[in-house]
């Protein structure tokens, strides 16, 4: 590998740096640097730098008008001991994650299995079922959701036909969060496609052998499909969970965190602290707590994966 890197380069005069091996290595590093530079600038200037600054800010009070003032651990102490909205938003978000993610994955798996039954037209159907995932996060869908689940909306009209009187669903304390969960579960397209790819990798011989042994469909599902699909389930679980923790737009537009803070998602609370109240220091501390919560949840899933994720020698999807 090393040798071919040393062949003369067109863009620079050959002989320019073609002396020792060391010089060649430097040259290669420089070429690599030129390719990497867009990302390196972004990584240092927009990720690492801001993270360090944000960590510093989390120990200050800063309203963007005066210079930040150092307050030590005050922000963190207040978060954990004296901020009922933090507790509320964390509870709301955890509830949302714990309900919406498994529902979404179950739904995605169910539909993926339907698509994998070998009937004609499944490619077309997959696309059809994917549509909500493309546009589900848009303002337009939020507008439509508000109408459909409103007092005079489509849902209540349907219920009215059965003599049931509905509510203004998204402003009812018990149902508001379910309106949002439904919206998120509705966008089950990408886990579905990933499940489908996983299902297609399961060798059909396994099912045939099980059939010969007289295994029921039920048995095959739990003894072949699910175990071989665990790496994909694991992957979907981690990604959907991280996404669910960051849910913002829907709550901001549809329920505005209400009623009585029943849908005050963590990301929404953080946004308000930062961009409505301009408490940049406090909001930075909130962001770091969120990062720790997400890291902890991810760590727990990784840790538990040794118990339930099945890896074939080295196969499976990463």
């Amino acid at each position: 590998m090393r040798e071919e890197l040393g062949k003369p380069m067109k863009l620079r005069p050959s002989g320019f740096l073609s002396g020792s091996v060391k010089k060649r290595t430097i040259k290669h590093n420089l070429i690599a640097l030129s390719f990497l530079s867009p990302w390196l600038i972004g990584f240092i200037g927009f990720v690492i730098g801001p993270m360090i600054y944000s960590f510093y800010l989390s120990f200050t009070n800063y309203n963007m008008l005066q210079e930040p003032t150092w307050v030590g651990l005050d922000n963190y102490i207040r978060i954990f001991t004296n901020d009922p909205l933090f507790i509320t938003s964390l509870k709301v978000t955890l509830l949302f994650v714990v309900i919406s993610v498994p529902l979404k994955l179950l739904f995605a798996l169910f539909v993926a299995m339907l698509m994998n039954m070998g009937h004609r037209g499944s490619g077309f159907y997959t696309l059809l079922y994917y549509i909500p995932s493309i546009i589900g996060g848009s303002v337009a869908i939020a507008v439509i959701w508000r109408q459909i689940f409103g007092r005079e909306g489509a849902l209540n009209h349907v219920l009215g036909n059965f003599g049931i009187e509905g509510y203004n669903w998204f402003s009812h304390p018990d149902y508001a969060i379910w309106v949002l969960i439904l919206l998120i579960v509705w966008q089950f397209g990408s886990p579905m496609v990933i499940f489908l790819a996983g299902l297609r990798q399961i060798p059909t011989e396994l099912y045939e052998a099980a059939s010969v042994d007289g295994a029921s469909r039920f048995k095959k599902f739990f003894s072949i499909t699910i175990p071989l699909l665990t790496p994909v389930i694991f992957f979907n679980l981690v990604f959907q969970m991280i996404n669910a923790f960051m849910t913002f737009t829907q709550a901001f537009l549809i329920t505005q965190g209400g009623p009585v803070n029943k849908t005050l998602f963590y990301a929404l609370y953080l946004y308000r602290e930062a961009f409505t109240n301009y408490r940049m220091g406090y909001a930075s501390a909130l962001a770091w707590v969120l990062l720790v919560v997400i890291a902890l949840a991810t760590f727990l899933i990784f840790k538990s994966s040794k118990k339930w994720v099945y890896y074939e020698s080295e196969g499976g999807k990463g």
């Binding site: 590998m1 890197l5 927009f46 549509i131 990604f239 962001a287 969120l290």
Partner: protein, 281 residues
């Protein structure tokens, strides 16, 4: 006998899938149909998907927007932001991915680990310091905070996707070119890039979909109504405090989704493949 049974199973299957699919797509169909209904009918018989007459008035009224701001302006702004971001994403992801997939350099492993770590990083952590940074650069109320990040690898996901793709291209091709005296820049431009077309299309689609949809960044960075994107315009239009007519609002919601639909129709092949191989979103 057996044949008849499988035929019946097939009919049940298709009926179920289509019926269920229609239920899934109901909100979208409802939106498209309601945008053509006369205003008073939207609430009168709101669940129905059949308008008594087709009216284009909602579109005409909606397109003219509110105050002196029309949706032509918001549409144009969205187009500018989205197309620049797409160019940026293609530029940065292909260059950086080439380095990771083909070159050997110092700290390669560590840097790749950094890249992967940022894929999982919640954006909330960098949101506030980035805002302060852009504020200090006087970039608030310009398109720069929405566009520049794409040019400097703002979506590590895309880089990762491209790395995976380039690794699948046989190395013999670039080795032969190098022996023929081609530079690494030449290898990138003449050999790898043309072969990356499917991956580049995938990057383009996702960057387009996400930027077009994006709400949080425009919300934070664009306060001047002249700069509003479709998402912000629609939100201002739908503000419960000065709620305008539902008809035009639903019509403009429909319009806001049209570019995504067109892209979806033309590129669905790449889209589904892209998700299956990378697990995007």
């Amino acid at each position: 006998m057996d044949n008849r049974k499988s035929k019946r199973a097939s009919i049940i299957y298709h009926t179920f899938i289509i019926g269920f699919g229609l239920l899934m797509l109901y909100p979208i169909l409802w939106m498209a149909v309601s945008s053509l209904k006369p205003e008073h009918e939207i609430f009168l018989n709101s669940a129905s998907l059949i308008p008594s007459e087709i009216k284009w008035e909602n579109y005409v009224q909606g397109w003219s927007g509110f105050g002196k701001y029309g949706f032509d302006l918001f549409f144009k702004n969205s187009m500018i932001v989205t197309s620049l971001s797409v160019v940026g994403a293609l530029f940065s992801s292909s260059l950086v991915a080439f380095a990771f997939a083909r070159l050997k350099f110092k700290f390669q492993g560590a840097l790749f680990a950094c890249l992967l770590a940022t894929v999982m990083l919640p954006m909330q952590v960098t949101l506030i310091p980035q805002y302060i940074l852009f504020h200090n650069l006087n970039w608030v109320n310009t398109f720069l905070p929405l566009v520049v990040p794409a040019f400097i690898g703002g979506s590590p996901f895309f880089i990762f996707l491209m790395v995976q793709f380039i690794r699948g291209i046989p190395r013999e091709l670039d080795e032969a070119a190098i022996i023929d005296g081609c530079s690494w820049y030449g290898v990138f431009w003449y050999i790898i890039l043309p072969l990356c077309k499917p991956a580049l299309v995938t990057v383009m689609i996702f960057q387009f979909m996400w930027t077009w949809d994006d709400f949080l960044s425009p919300l934070i960075y664009l306060q001047d109504t002249n700069l509003y994107t479709m998402a912000l315009g629609l939100r201002a239009f739908s503000d419960p405090d000065n709620l305008t007519a539902w008809g035009p609002l639903i019509a403009m919601s429909t319009v806001s989704l049209i570019p995504q639909f067109i892209l979806f129709l033309f590129c669905q092949k790449y889209l589904v493949k892209g998700i299956a191989t990378t697990g995007i979103k």
